[in-house]
Amino acid sequence: MVSSATILRMVAPCWRRPSVKGDHSTRDANGRCDGLLWYKDSGNHVAGEFSMSVIQANNLLEDHSKLESGPVSMFDSGPQATFVGVYDGHGGPEAARFVNKHLFDNIRKFTSENHGMSANVITKAFLATEEDFLSLVRRQWQIKPQIASVGACCLVGIICSGLLYIANAGDSRVVLGRLEKAFKIVKAVQLSSEHNASLESVREELRSLHPNDPQIVVLKHKVWRVKGIIQVSRSIGDAYLKKAEFNREPLLAKFRVPEVFHKPILRAEPAITVHKIHPEDQFLIFASDGLWEHLSNQEAVDIVNTCPRNGIARKLIKTALREAAKKREMRYSDLKKIDRGVRRHFHDDITVIVVFLDSHLVSRSTSRRPLLSISGGGDLAGPST
């Protein structure tokens, strides 16, 4: 028996959309909602097709994302680019929403100022967005101290002038599907490094950055956490581990660090790599860690390689949900009956953006295709900050 309240709660996100006739193209353009699932099955970006999808698990969606395609500078001249952003929030949705709203604009600003895209431009955009969010935390600290414990893992991909820039702070992941002609298979190549304390290399980095703090990483319930609190070592936000002024009352006790610290414990600086795009490079899968918890890199690549392009992001999410249900020894159909909030005990919010690389489009950076700007989640994502 499904209560009417449950039906209303699950369907409400779609009802909020105006149901005016002739709105069909607009509705499709911004994706569709089906309960807790949002999807934009197919669209075009500068270098080919893309597919996006988001599944909500938390009470408030903590994943946010964006795909932009068009001129990357403030001036309409200059190279065309595709921008992909996946922002996985924690402690609340505010940081991921903020980044979704501001990071791309900062990248455009710095690209214009520096007369072109570069790794340095992206770093400056990340750090500017971080400073802006910390300013917001400072403004809201007295009335809403919990915002100091909100942060977001940020993964960015930019395709511009035949190059692919990857920038990551946190544990979202981007995987390339590369055709190996000799064997006629598509191989998974992970392009992002992860900043999660479960990795020994990350723990070593933390210990070398904080040599006088034996408690910088702590094993708690078999999980490594920075200061015994958080698993990721980089993020935008998490002011309570960036500035000592936000690690005091009235912040909740569970976020408190016993000693006063004088330099940030977490960092917002992204790890950036630049890749020349080759004809064998078939597609990119950008996703928050909720997907990679259930699918390996190669499993995801195999699905993209063997299934139709249209709706492929949604397909990846559904495959992950089937895996999540299996782990809880339940049916996938029953998982779908679980509300958001409770759903978090079965899987996390998941965002997937698949970007196909059409080799003849990649090299023609001056090709004119319609401008595109789309944020993942639609009404699931709630009001803009």
Binding site: V2, V223, K327, R328, E329, M330, D334, K337, V342, H345
Partner: protein
């Protein structure tokens, strides 16, 4: 939710003490006449009926199956959130509910009896059970 969760904890402790004191306490075998099947014990080997989710309850991880709809109830949400705060979300395998088995059964019985919408009444019911426990 806090008062209810706090009371559940207290009752759980109380039941544990009672079990320690007299080892022969056993839970009455309950049968449900209602056509809406909410909870039943299940051996690991048995398949989970459609519409249900298996959960492990208490320190000994006694296995139950719960209707998927029931999991959405605020009482269960509170129990699961308490578990997540302690152990995180990446528990392996079947969901674990950190609640004494006896208390769990009482909660489910109360929900099944239709007093689910009145949390204060549910608390009173649990309190009553607490008093009556040997």
């Amino acid at each position: 939710m806090k008062p209810l969760i706090r009371r559940l904890s207290r009752i759980a402790d109380s039941s544990s003490c009672n079990r320690n004191r007299s080892g022969d306490i056993h839970h009455p075998t309950s049968t449900y006449s209602s056509s809406v099947f909410l909870v039943k014990r299940a051996t690991v080997a048995s398949s989970v009926p459609s519409g249900h989710v298996p959960v492990n309850v208490g320190e000994d991880k006694e296995r139950f199956v719960v209707s998927a709809e029931l999991l959405n109830h605020p009482v269960f949400v509170g129990l699961l959130n308490r578990s997540a705060q302690e152990y995180g979300y990446t528990q392996k395998g079947v969901l674990h509910i950190p609640c004494n088995v006896f208390v769990f059964e009482q909660v489910v019985e109360s929900l099944r009896s239709g007093i689910a919408d009145d949390t204060s009444e549910l608390i009173a019911s649990l309190s009553g059970e607490d008093v009556s426990t040997e």
